[in-house]
Subunit: 199 residues, 2 copies
Amino acid sequence: MRTSNMLEQLMEALRCLPGVGPKSAQRMAFHLLQRDRSGGVKLADALSQAMTEVGHCGECRTFTENDVCHICSNPKRQQTGQICVVESPADIAAVEATGQYSGLYFVLMGHLSPLDGIGPSDIGLDKLDFRLQEGEITEVILATNPTVEGEATAQYIAELCHIHQVNASRIAHGVPVGGELDLVDGTTLSHSLLGRHKL
Amino acid sequence: MRTSNMLEQLMEALRCLPGVGPKSAQRMAFHLLQRDRSGGVKLADALSQAMTEVGHCGECRTFTENDVCHICSNPKRQQTGQICVVESPADIAAVEATGQYSGLYFVLMGHLSPLDGIGPSDIGLDKLDFRLQEGEITEVILATNPTVEGEATAQYIAELCHIHQVNASRIAHGVPVGGELDLVDGTTLSHSLLGRHKL
């Protein structure tokens, strides 16, 4: 359907958002034009600003518009000597939401994947290696995803830690809290058996 | 979670889109930053342009950045003397997609709803009334939604047409093509019985 060029361009542009097809792009465009133009303008400003100015933290590689993110620049967190390695900035959000962790982070922005030509330096492990050398880090918590690539990446980083005599630990895999045993897949259950601890 | 202010602002702004909650806003923001910055910039431009410049067609009230939309300014369509009344610009898209209609449109941008204080002038019926007076329109096709308000609005416009001696017709309601009788609701089925035609 040819409506107005600008409207078409907007619908087309909206489809760059994940999970947005032609229909929902149309719904979004009409919604903004009909009911929330100010919101649309705000979104446009926020977008152009973020796309141009948000870069990566010099320390942990997460997204920030500053040279160093607010977590890395927090002295209290630096004192812990702990660094939690995650695959994406969204994982930081998840860990932070638990309120259980008060150390630093290191974001790989992916995982080792030789088939896709993604090597250690592509996920910033040279940077991590350097930080381990400095000797300020006492423990590395490996919180990569429990996928094949995630596990392989965790293994690789664990070896790095051993070279620098830094403690490396892997987050526990097991039965989700509130989950039912008979609904949990075999691999997870076997993990939870292997990872059992004394009471 | 406090990440970067810009990132927070972007996630907050993304929630003005219909059907986008905190989680999907986060997913969208990270996706754009990580994988599709150029797309994000394009979207920002398309948004700000559309929000500021897209207005309503002087003839049919649909969205357009011009004074008159490309349908109203099409002489071939003007010659038909037909005008299809719909509730929203999205409905034009739907009717156009059928390829069955080659006349003009009139978009109400809503429907009569006395309880919400939405009267005839609020949905541009004064404008439609004026166009019917001009005498260029020979048939009005009422394609408002088959809801209570939609039917009431259609009735109201039909009476307008009778005053100006213009033919008014309502789109047929009945069993959807490809639908199964036993799955169709009673009201629709009774409509399809009342609206039966000779073979």
